[in-house]
């Protein structure tokens, strides 16, 4: 049977599996051809236009043929700081191919991609799904030589990382870099005990315990977990679902990857505990495409848990059924937003939904669904083991427990730090060995860029909240380059659904560039701020509502930088260079366009 039909048969007529179908086709055929689209359309009884919509939404799906090796080089700011430019040049030189293209011999395609969750080991790239970290020119030469010899990407991985990265089902060069293990997440964990503790309580009792622990969502928004579960449980329905959000797309965040690598069963048990609490029998682990290298390992562990009776039918003989399924997107930051994630898990374009209804009311397949971050679920398992009173002894009164931070950028010891809430930025900088620090980006591009005057601030929900991203910039860095990188990220990752986010961010960037180029006036600066506020207020989801933050928070904390670029003499400078615009005409009529240009500005 031809491979496409085989793939279609494997997934039956399940519309929610469209992304899996397309990924399998791409892997088997090299790209998703018109012919394949036609077959899928017929099979699932949806239009070709709709399928094309899904393909063009996700970064890692392609309807154009790709080379035998598809290279996706991370373009996040930490990659930039670690020498991405040189690596990119080396890749182009060695392959004879430009970024965005496929080499003539169809051997290699080169692409850029947003943060892949390896910020403490940049520059990083995915090659046919295999992660390559800490790249440099020499490594690139070796890799490309390997490609020319026809080696599989996995064969080019020479050394494995620590911990489970070296497991035979993972075999990744990725490093965990756990610098500080705390009591909640990285303490010892023996599978089976947390779920047993939960099953000793009623579902309401579990919710009560989580509420008493004052566990707040670790994904960024900080919604009380116990309340979320209660709201979900209260919705009447024949099915409820648990979704573990392992999309981890906020640049600078890589803590969920390490939690999943080192404490996977703890996360899975957390999902089962959530399932018991809300009345669900199926949990979905939504794993970001970039972390696919962990999937086989997880499947093996899940199977092991089933065999040990801590997952699947009749868990621990206590009459509770719960199983876990792994689903993935195909590269889109916005899919970390819970309603977009649900759309994506249903096999659609990852576009956020309008609220109400909220996911706890109508989520996956329109059934009540609780979406929780990886770390939140792991923490729930620990709370079952050690109790809410113990948990509340950690952290602060508002923000109980610990937070796993991913620290990257200019410091001697980048990596994972599990710390109690309430720790100050300055303490973290010391721990990580940061010197001569100019700024810290807390919470990723959508968070806050703080200056030295804010280094006394605390990491907690009532001061500096963060999903885990903590990026350090020292005094030799150009903050405008940082802001530019973040603005480009949001422009690239906007789903495009709503006008302020889709068009507004492009306009905001244009204004920003005008000012940075020294062509801005006081009026431009005022407009930059005003436009940022419009985008924040009018956008539909959290992406648009935070996308101007790189500009707005640097405007607050580093205003003097912007002021220094402003032309204080001019009241108005046009958006375009008049001389440049009439250059052709000037040349034709034999006038000196140079002077025109100078006069205009």
């Amino acid at each position: 049977m031809d491979p496409i039909r085989k793939i279609l048969q494997k997934y039956k007529r399940d519309r929610t599996r469209l992304i899996d179908i397309l990924k399998d086709i791409q892997e088997s055929e090299g790209s998703i051809t018109q012919q394949a689209i036609e077959l899928v359309a017929k099979h699932l009884k949806i239009s070709r236009a709709e399928i094309e919509g899904v393909i063009t939404f996700y970064h890692f799906l392609s309807d154009r043929p790709l080379g035998k090796y598809a290279v996706y080089l991370n373009n996040s700011i930490t990659s930039e700081m670690a020498g991405r430019q040189k690596v990119a040049e080396a890749l182009e030189k060695e392959t004879g191919c430009k970024f965005g293209q496929t080499s003539e011999d169809n051997l290699v395609s080169l692409f850029e991609t947003s943060c892949v969750g390896m910020n403490d080991q940049e520059p990083a790239a995915l090659i046919n799904g295999v992660v390559f970290t800490s790249l440099n020119e020499e490594k690139v030469r070796k890799i490309v030589a390997g490609m020319k010899r026809g080696l599989a990407a996995q064969e080019m991985v020479e050394e494995y990382g620590d911990g489970a990265n070296g497991h035979e089902l993972v075999r990744a060069m990725v490093k965990n870099n756990i610098r500080k293990a705390g009591a909640v997440i990285f303490d010892e964990f023996t599978p089976g005990q947390a779920i047993a503790q939960a099953l000793n309580k009623t579902p309401e009792g579990v919710i009560e315990e989580i509420k008493k622990a004052n566990l707040l969502g670790r994904g960024g928004a900080g919604f009380p977990t116990g309340l979320k579960w209660e709201l979900c449980r209260q919705e009447k329905s024949d099915q409820h679902y648990v979704v573990c959000n392992a999309d981890e797309g906020e640049p600078g965040t890589f803590k969920d990857r390490v939690i999943l690598t080192e404490r996977p069963q703890m996360v899975f048990e957390g999902m089962a505990i959530a399932g018991y609490a809300v009345g669900a029998h199926l949990g979905i682990l939504y794993l970001r495409h970039e972390y696919t290298y962990l999937k086989k390992y997880f499947e093996y562990l899940l199977q092991k848990m089933r065999e040990e009776g801590i997952l699947g039918k009749n868990i621990l003989g206590r009459g509770f059924d719960f199983d876990i399924e792994i689903k993935s997107g195909a590269g889109a930051y916005v899919c970390g937003e819970e309603s977009a994630l649900i759309e994506s898990a249903e096999g659609k374009r990852g576009e956020p939904r309008d609220r109400p209804p909220f996911p706890v009311q109508k989520g996956y397949l329109d059934k009540p669904t609780t979406v929780n971050n990886v770390e939140t679920l792991a923490a729930s398992a620990r709370i079952m083991l050690r109790g809410s009173s113990w948990f509340r002894t950690l952290g602060t009164s508002v923000s109980a427990g610990t937070k796993v931070l991913s620290i990257s950028g200019d410091c001697q010891r980048p990596g994972i730090y599990e710390v109690e809430f309430g720790i100050t930025v300055r303490e973290l900088l010391e721990m990580a060995g940061a010197q001569d620090t100019l700024a810290v980006q807390v919470g990723g591009p959508s968070g806050n860029c703080i200056s030295e005057s804010g280094f006394g601030r605390k990491i907690c929900y009532s001061d500096l909240a963060t999903g885990g991203s903590f990026i350090i910039f020292n005094r030799r860095r150009d903050l405008f380059a940082v802001v530019r990188n973040f603005l480009d990220f949001f422009i690239e990752e906007s789903c495009g659904w709503c006008v302020p986010c889709r068009a507004g961010n492009v306009l905001l960037k244009k204004k920003f560039e005008k000012i940075v180029a020294g062509l801005g006036t006081a009026q431009d600066l005022a407009e930059l701020e005003a436009w940022g506020k419009i985008i924040k207020s009018m956008s539909r989801c959290g992406l648009g509502q935070t996308s101007p933050n790189p500009v707005l928070t640097t405007l607050t904390n580093f205003r003097e930088l912007y002021e220094s670029r402003i032309n204080k003499k001019a009241d108005f400078i046009p958006e375009f260079d008049l001389g440049q615009a009439v250059m052709d005409a000037c040349q034709l009529t034999g006038r000196k366009f140079k002077e025109e240009s100078e006069n205009a500005r």
């Binding site: 709709e50 939404f57 422009i491 889709r502 492009v506 407009e527 207020s537």
Partner: protein, 232 residues
Amino acid sequence: MPDKIKFTIDGKDCYAEPGQTIYEAAKANGVFIPVLCHYEGLKPVGSCRICSVRANGRWMTSCTQPVTNGMVIENATPEVEAYRKAIIEMLFVEGNHFCPTCEKSGNCELQALAYRYQIMVPQFPYLFPKREIEAFPGFLLEHNRCIQCQRCVRAIQTEDGQKIFALKNRSKDLRINVDLKLAARMTEKEVQKAMDICPVGAILKKEVGFRIPIGKRKYDQKPIGSEVEENK
């Protein structure tokens, strides 16, 4: 029968049926809130954001948000109106709108709103994107004027619910993608419906240009919103 909901818009006492959106309730009370992506009878998608209001201090889109008891809504305040104006301006600079040559001029909701908001020159620089015009058996798709409102996506589908119009790409490259095969099977009536439902001049039925001269069209007679405000 549940009781009526009581709420205010810019200080005016208003009443609504349970389940009504802010937009619907406002309309029933003679208060105009501009909409672009919303269309009666279609599921709201909240994409244009022009219908945004401040409800109890928070920004919300009135086409998607149900009205609740005691809600305090800011609608025609200087801030809200200024932000809406910005949205209209963004739409103008994001596409290429040369109204004098447009078949929809005078019937175009975007143009009519630009008049209502007295837009002379947008505060944003024009982006002058390169966009295409696509031809299908019954109609043209003028991407230069499309505002990605998704009215066509929602309204025009096959009997078994397949999408003839769908979204393609993302971010600033978001476009409407037409299913060639399914579009070829559209009846003249369906094409007319698509053209009528499109708020701008993006879907154009072939061979019927300029039947009603500019100057005699819908919004040439009465400004947009007047139909609601006359019912006060």
